[in-house]
Symmetry: C2
Subunit: 224 residues, 2 copies
DNA sequence: CCCCACATGAGACTTAAGTCACAGAAAGCT
DNA sequence: AGCTTTCTGTGACTTAAGTCTCATGTGGGG
């Protein structure tokens, strides 16, 4: 009973944009999409590349980042199964502002630009849902700007730890990944973590970081 | 012939979102809006305030900014006549992420949340146009993040000078405003300007800054 | 078992940026 | 004119963050 087509319909149904579609439309959309398969470490898209359409993660893990000429990296977001990536380019069909790269073996469902545009034309409810989603995304970006320009690395780190703790599970990020997520470098994260430990707010263990005083941590994250 | 109503219709017609509306819809919308008047320095909206709807600048000047607890300010954008503000909250009707303040005596046309939502429901073309606009706004935010996290103040300043030069006219910003726009402080802008002058890329005059070598300036802005 | 790749911690140092303090210049007001 | 207010430039200083380097640790694969 689990045909590839049925699987794809289920995946599409989970997407906030598309959950408003009826069965027929979902099946039609599933037929108009294709699935791509990438190894770990594949570059899906680089800054300036033309828009390939909307991508949905079926399995695996994808990193969205900004790169500086000297090789420093700022990770904007990490995506897992059921998440939509490359939204910005998909809506205005312009060249990408970010770089997308797989962190693990990954399967993506691709909705090409024309198909997506047709979907928006024919289903105003999808456009409405997408507006809410884009607005939410914009808020996240604004919050990131506030962090970068007005807060210290330690404060941002406190926030990141709280966020990771909330998101259930596999918060197994390396220091380098945390650093890139915060817009800084490995060593600074190392030191900031140690500072937080000295303050008694966290405990650093072998494989995980335990939040001893979430409230104080949140307070520190709010402060400048 | 210039009744207030006709003026308002003309203003609405200029907005990218709304230019797709026919005459009848424009007039209906104009009737459903009201105009508000504020003195210079008025706080229109603070971080966390509920969404008052979509605002369009009829005359005057408005500043969108982020504030830190210690009083530092990061200016996200400055708006003038014909520009739309408070877009993010208007689309998801959530509380504001930014602070809006008038820099001069200002008249705003207000489209309340329910009216705007109704407009989106009844005119899918508006929703489509708004999607493009929001995507564009998202790109700007991403570019700002790249600047803050990967570039020096001097590089960002070079970019700001080029932007201001392109936008026609009254680039009469004070150093403090430039600093807030770049996410830094007055003194640093002062020094960076001097550095650029020493490099022969600009000349600082009484009332304006002359770009002597726009190409080199652009190159410097691109670099880290 | 050893070796290699990679993650981590830490010290020493450099640098970009922010803060403080002060003084001159311009603009506006009464 | 006098006065205040605001904007500005500058030097001296502090601090947050980034760079460089090396030692340690750990786990997997031949």
């Amino acid at each position: 009973m689990n045909t590839p087509h049925a699987d794809r319909v289920e995946l599409l149904r989970q997407i906030p944009y598309l959950s408003v579609l009826d069965e027929e439309a979902l099946h039609a959309l599933a037929r108009a999409t294709r699935t791509c398969h990438y190894p770990a470490g594949a570059v899906l898209l680089m800054e300036g590349d033309p828009c390939p359409g909307l991508w949905i993660v079926e399995s695996g893990r994808v990193k969205a980042s900004l790169l500086s000429p000297s090789g420093r990296e700022h990770i904007l977001a990490l995506y897992g199964p059921g998440e939509v990536i490359n939204e910005l380019s998909a809506f205005d069909s312009a060249s990408s502002a970010i770089t997308l790269e797989t962190l693990a073996e990954t399967r993506l469902v691709v909705i090409s630009c024309p198909v997506f545009q047709k979907l928006l034309d024919e289903h105003p409810a999808v456009a409405q849902a997408a507006l809410k989603r884009l607005a939410r995304y914009g808020r996240q970006l604004v919050a990131t700007i506030a962090d970068l320009s007005l807060r210290t690395v330690t404060a941002r780190l406190a926030g990141l730890l709280l966020d990771s703790a909330m998101q259930s599970c596999d918060a197994t990020m390396t220091r380098s990944q945390m650093a890139a997520r915060l817009g800084t470098v490995r060593e600074v994260v190392s030191r900031s973590l140690r500072d937080l430990e000295r303050l008694g707010l966290i405990r650093i263990e072998r494989e995980r970081i335990i939040l001893l005083q979430p409230r104080e941590l949140a307070q520190l994250a709010e402060r400048e």
